[in-house]
Symmetry: C2
Subunit: 204 residues, 2 copies
């Protein structure tokens, strides 16, 4: 932030909006780093503020709690895509494989892994946070899968009587279980085999 | 234990083995109750000892840590069945539905729900505990499902080229995701629909 301030050379009037966006970004980056380094439980608002070089009050101006900050970290890591439609090349199996391979890549990066595990732990006793995660991440994520499957029904690639809610669980549940319990590695081949088997259940 | 001691009337020599089994049971019961009442994080070895009316040293004689105690609670709740074969009536869909309906009943009881959530939270950062859970509960659980599916392959109810490891994940992963993220209620109907859809993927 200091570098940017000097790059302005003092010639322009400060732009509060841009400064806010910069502080917000610094706070989310700091929280993202700290959750990987020390974990959710040991991470404090003080440490986030110190790392982001902002006052603690600046954080509390935008977020009421540590959970709220980390929910936004998580949303930035995954959720910006949460409401975005899945690819539609015309072949549903190809598209689902593309999406699940990308999910493998996401969940095998340390930042995502640590953040998602911190959240998984938190929502086991924090039901309010669980509801927020559900509304902001899980439901939109399920909805875009269902949307893609509906289009596959129209294209005659998925049978019309298939329960699409359940179909999405078949695509995402096994993946999540493997990640959660670390029973076996998450690989691209796994993602592809999973889609192939689920498609056996869904084809007309 | 006092009641039992007086029931002996002092006439018989104490049986250390039986006394040990009784203390062990009291400790596991106490831990099981406390995890429901206060949760894993706030449960202490002192509280377990007080509730079980034993000295803390008695607990440490058998278990090195709180995690170890709760792992045994969990094993008693679910794991006694973990290595037991699944029912085999000759119809694999019927048997899988029986098993998953029973799992629904298990996971919708407060003791099991709280204990499993406490563990789910713990193993996100305690990888040693995760390994133990994997070895003592997850792997044996997966193995008995695979065993039942192998018998279904022999009976011509499951195609011979099906990846049985993946098939088990399809049967258990969606269930676990729904429970973990509380996305929808776990019901007997759900268990049956899940089996029906997975069987679509597995039939020859």
């Amino acid at each position: 932030m200091k570098e940017n301030a000097s790059a302005d050379g003092g010639r322009r009037a400060p732009n509060p909006k841009r400064r806010s966006a910069r502080a917000e970004r610094a706070i989310l980056d700091a929280a993202s780093e700290l959750i990987v380094e020390v974990g959710f439980a040991r991470m404090t608002m003080e440490a986030i503020a110190a790392r982001a070089r902002v006052g603690k009050q600046t954080i509390y101006r935008w977020w009421p709690s540590k959970s709220a900050v980390v929910l936004d970290v998580f949303t930035h890591l995954t959720g910006e895509k949460a409401g975005q439609p899945l690819p539609d090349t015309g072949d549903v199996a190809t598209d689902l494989k593309t999406v699940l391979r990308a999910t493998v890549d996401e969940f095998t990066t340390p930042a995502m892994d640590r953040t998602a595990r911190a959240f998984t732990a938190e929502i086991q006793h924090d039901t309010e946070l669980a509801v927020q995660i559900g509304e902001r991440l899980v439901s939109p994520g399920t909805e875009v899968y269902k949307e893609r499957l509906r289009s596959a029904v129209d294209a005659g690639q998925v049978r019309a009587d298939a329960d699409l809610e359940l179909a999405v669980e078949l695509l995402t549940g096994p993946f999540q279980k493997r990640w959660l319990l670390r029973t076996a590695p998450l690989t691209h081949t796994y993602a592809e085999d999973l889609v192939d088997m689920v498609m056996c259940a869904l084809r007309p």
